[in-house]
């Protein structure tokens, strides 16, 4: 920052000058060295350099910057913490990145009406931390909640471990202030009142991966902490037993707050990571099950869960003794992706969803894919809602492995789509799964979606090239792979 001022000001282009005027010289980056850190987000296989990064401090600055870009046909996109896993914030077209991390305030909390208003750069977990003294929390809890922003959550319609019972981001967004791609600012149910007459603009904006508008203010629902929580950890010798236990728990009429599964390779990873729990290395699967609600009712559910596990030959099953133990189990689970770094230099995480009942057969198919591509695949996932996260482990330094990993990822998604599922449950399409959209949508259905984009974003300057497959190209995944791999070859 201090040094920034000293950098040479030679031949700065007029766009940079104009944007500097809008946000101030301390809130813009445009030197190559400074921009390099913005060439990717949590998806690192594809990289591209932005034209500049700006850090607006309020809605007016966002609107002014957007207006400038719109008037000068400069592509632009919004970025939060940059933890997205599908490349939604990667500046494919040399975009101006509008980073919202400086708009990071909690604007108000209204306990009576159970809502809070935050700026987009406000970190997810901070909301819960800010209201927990009153016993309230914000439900969507993506694993990156320690760092990810609520603005980013809205863009991606983020999920999380506890979405099985409480729903994903879209179920908790009550109102938005949005800067549209032409720089106009609109407010949708800013006071959080439900069912505002008209089409559900709120619903269509949430999860639009930053292609329809830039959210500058968010009204969210806040919930009261359940009276009691119990967490169960169950070890299975066979993956099939674990999957069947999942189905039986749900069929018993229990909706756990979370129902997570990890397979053997995943367990190896988390145990090598920073938050090991001491899971036995020789089990094929573990389940992390959490139920919450009125304390009086929980014991009964726990008993039922234990007996379901017993019925499926569980090797060992235990209930967390205290909050500390529960936190340890969750830290181990929530840092699971990052922990793969400890057993593999690179990984590619997929995000397919399948009907719960197809769990055993799809897991089997993933094992076959692993064999076929001779790459290890770890599975850490939200078993309760059938949201798989195959983590394909590879080493980009080995020639051809990145390409192989991408193909294996695509194969996993194909398996999910073929089982009647979807290619993404919470990570979004971004640039990563653009082509795979064709696994689940016809050309006409894709056109129906891009038609909506055209209403909001007619010149397609906002986050261009994301979410939808390139229309001119037929479904030639290999071609895509070749393209993406070019950026990763050193």
């Amino acid at each position: 920052m201090v040094l920034l001022a000293k950098k040479k000001k030679a031949q700065i282009d007029p766009d940079i000058l104009a944007l500097t005027k809008i946000v101030g010289s301390k809130s813009i980056l445009h030197h190559k060295e400074d921009l390099l850190s913005y060439d990717c987000d949590g998806f690192t296989i594809h990289k591209a350099m932005p034209k500049a990064v700006i850090f607006p401090k309020n809605t007016d600055e966002v609107a002014a910057a957007v207006k400038y870009c719109a008037n000068h046909a400069i592509p632009f996109l919004a970025r939060g913490a940059g933890t997205g896993l599908s490349g939604g914030a990667i500046p494919l077209n040399n975009e101006v990145i509008i980073s919202l991390v400086k708009m990071k305030n909690l604007l108000s909390v209204d306990y009576e009406n159970r809502k809070a208003v935050v700026q987009p750069g406000f970190v997810n977990l901070k909301l819960t931390n800010s209201i927990s003294h009153k016993g309230y929390y914000y439900a969507p809890d993506p694993s990156s909640q320690y760092v990810c922003t609520i603005g980013g959550n809205v863009a991606e319609n983020a999920g999380g471990a506890h979405c099985l019972k409480y729903g994903v981001t879209t179920n908790h967004i009550l109102g938005l202030e949005v800067v549209l791609p032409d720089g106009e600012v609109i407010e949708i149910s800013p006071n959080g009142i439900l069912d505002t007459p008209g089409y559900d603009i709120l619903g269509i904006l949430t999860g639009s991966e930053g292609t329809l508008g830039i959210v500058t203010k968010i009204t969210v629902r806040i919930l009261k902490n359940p009276e009691a929580k119990k967490t169960v950890l169950a070890y299975f010798d066979r993956v099939e037993d674990g999957s069947h236990a999942v189905s039986d728990i749900i069929s018993a009429g229990i909706i756990p707050a979370a129902l997570e599964m990890m397979d053997q390779t995943a367990i190896e990873g988390v145990e090598a990571g920073a938050f090991p729990v001491g899971h036995p290395p020789d089990i094929e699967a573990l389940l992390l099950i959490e139920v919450d609600g009125i304390a009086e009712g929980i014991a009964e559910q726990i008993e039922q869960i234990l007996s379901v596990c017993e019925n499926h030959h569980v090797r060992d099953v235990k209930v967390a003794r205290d909050e500390k133990e529960r936190d340890r189990w969750w830290a181990n689970r929530k840092t699971g992706f990052g922990a793969m770094g400890a057993i593999s230099p690179d990984y590619l995480v997929q995000d397919g969803v399948i009907p719960r009942s197809k769990l055993p057969e799809v897991l089997k198919e993933i094992r076959n894919i692993s064999k076929e591509y001779s790459l290890r695949i770890a599975n850490i996932f939200h078993a309760g809602d059938g949201n798989l996260h195959p983590l394909i482990l590879f080493d980009s330094r080995i020639e051809g492995e990145t390409e192989k990993a991408l193909l294996a990822g695509t194969a996993c998604l194909k398996a999910c789509a073929d089982a009647g599922g979807s290619i993404t449950g919470e990570h979004g399409v971004g640039i990563e799964k653009k082509e795979e959209m064709r696994f689940i949508f016809s050309d006409e259905e894709l056109e129906a979606q891009t038609a909506i984009r055209d209403v909001f974003n007619p010149h397609n300057l906002l986050n261009q090239g994301k979410l939808f497959p390139t229309p001119s190209r037929c479904m030639d995944i290999k071609k895509v792979v070749n393209e993406t791999s070019l950026t990763k070859s050193t």
Partner: protein, 426 residues
């Protein structure tokens, strides 16, 4: 519905409520829907879409359509895998049929709109209908995970999917939920299910108006506690007279959980209730909700001489208190009878007016203004066609309206489907 229609009262129905014509088409498959819609669109004919026919008095200022497209014959469960807790159903299926079917698997669609016996899932989704239990379970936008839609040009578009968690592409489901059939014809709906509660009960607390403040304080206390109410429905004295034979404010607290937990919560309420409140526990909660949900007049049962009107009002959660008090002031001051119930946990209220036509219109207008001035909205859900013309039934448009117009223009440029049915004449 067609029984009524065949008996020749169709003209009467059309005259009274609009949104229907005597030229009715009864497609029996999605393919037929697509064919009919495509053809109409091609030749510039206007279609009114009808399913259960309970919402003919809901929105719409167009005197006549060329055809009515009835979804009456598109009924039945398409797919249900109990282990996945999802169901795929055709739009003409009534809520009651659907719930009864699911009951045998100990499952339910967690929606409790008015008139389960006549309302169809297609209509409920199109009008985004919900009931008191929305507090715990949410609305159609929270449960619908996939649909098949016939677009005005005859294309069949799938939105969402069949899995409970899905962020592939735009969340297109949201566009058609609550769109009043102005964007496409829904031919299939996939919903997330919930297990039937193992035990349920209803606790009512009744207070005189002077203790309403205590009741509000109690609701806040309850929300701050760990009690998990399924509904916090506040009923005004006039409606309470019908329901509970007692002209006082009533708070209906529904509880659903395992028995122990429900009993624990009942005890908590008993211990913490306002001193001036009378508590009552209703044993047969299901019967109560059936009665409750059939209170609201709709175009299938409203042929009385007095004029009935129904409003849906949205406020902040606590905004329901001043709203109900305003309704009661009107009860005293105007010649209109106003029955009202309001969700103190979700801010949605249903207000039923009856009286002379001009008085009903005046009262509706009054409540609409009142809601809008306090930051909310008021829309008319049910009112005879002639009277609707005197009102802006959808209330004021917001600054995002041009986007809505853009969406309609993109999908249905020739206004083939339910023209002028929706907000701002969309």
């Amino acid at each position: 519905m067609d029984e009524i229609l065949l008996e020749g009262s169709l003209t009467e129905l059309a005259d009274r409520f609009g949104n229907i014509t005597s030229n009715i088409l009864y497609p029996e498959s999605e393919k037929e829907v697509a064919m009919m819609v495509k053809e109409a669109n091609k030749v510039g004919k206007k279609l009114a879409i009808v399913s259960g026919g309970t919402k003919l008095g809901y929105g719409g200022i167009k005197p006549e359509y060329d055809f009515t497209l009835s979804l009456k014959k598109l009924t039945g469960i398409v797919e249900h895998t109990p282990g996945d807790m999802t169901v795929t159903v055709k739009p003409g299926t009534t809520m009651q049929t659907l719930q009864q079917y699911l009951k045998q698997y100990n499952q339910m669609v967690p929606l409790d709109p008015a008139y389960a016996s006549a309302s169809t899932i297609g209509g409920v989704v199109s009008a985004n209908e919900s009931g008191p239990k929305r507090l715990k379970y949410g609305a159609a936008r929270d449960h619908v995970i996939g649909m098949r839609i016939v677009y005005p040009d005859g294309k069949i578009i799938r939105t969402g999917g069949k899995v409970v968690k899905n962020v592939a592409g735009y969340d297109m489901n949201k566009l058609f939920i609550g769109a009043m059939g102005t964007l496409g014809v829904i031919t299939e709906i996939t919903l997330k299910l919930r297990p039937l509660p193992k035990y349920s009960s209803i606790v009512t607390l009744s207070v005189q108006e002077d203790a309403l403040h205590d009741l509000k304080a109690f609701i806040i206390q309850l929300q701050d506690s760990t009690i998990e109410p399924v509904s916090l429905e506040l009923v005004n004295p006039m409606l309470s007279k019908n329901l509970f034979h007692k002209e006082e404010y009533h708070l209906i607290i529904a509880l659903e959980d395992v028995k122990k937990a429900v009993l624990f919560q009942e005890a908590w309420i008993d211990e913490n209730k306002p001193t001036k409140a009378m508590m009552n526990v209703l044993k047969h909660s299901e019967d109560f909700w059936t009665t409750f949900n059939e209170l609201t007049p709709n175009s299938q049962n409203d042929f009385h001489d007095t004029t009935s009107g129904v409003m849906k009002v949205g406020t902040t959660n606590m905004g329901v208190f001043p709203l109900l008090q305003e309704c009661d002031r009107l009860n005293l001051e105007s010649n209109v009878q106003i029955l009202a119930h309001a969700g103190a946990g979700h801010g949605l209220s249903t207000i039923i007016f009856s009286g002379l036509p001009e008085n009903v219109v005046q009262s509706i207008r009054h409540i609409q203004t009142f809601s809008e001035e306090s930051g909310g909205y008021g829309i008319v859900k049910h009112l005879p066609f002639e009277l609707r013309k005197h009102l802006n039934t959808w209330g004021q448009q917001k600054d995002s309206f041009y986007l809505m117009k853009g969406i309609k223009q993109k999908i249905d440029p020739k206004n083939t489907l339910n023209e002028k049915r929706f907000i701002g004449g969309i």
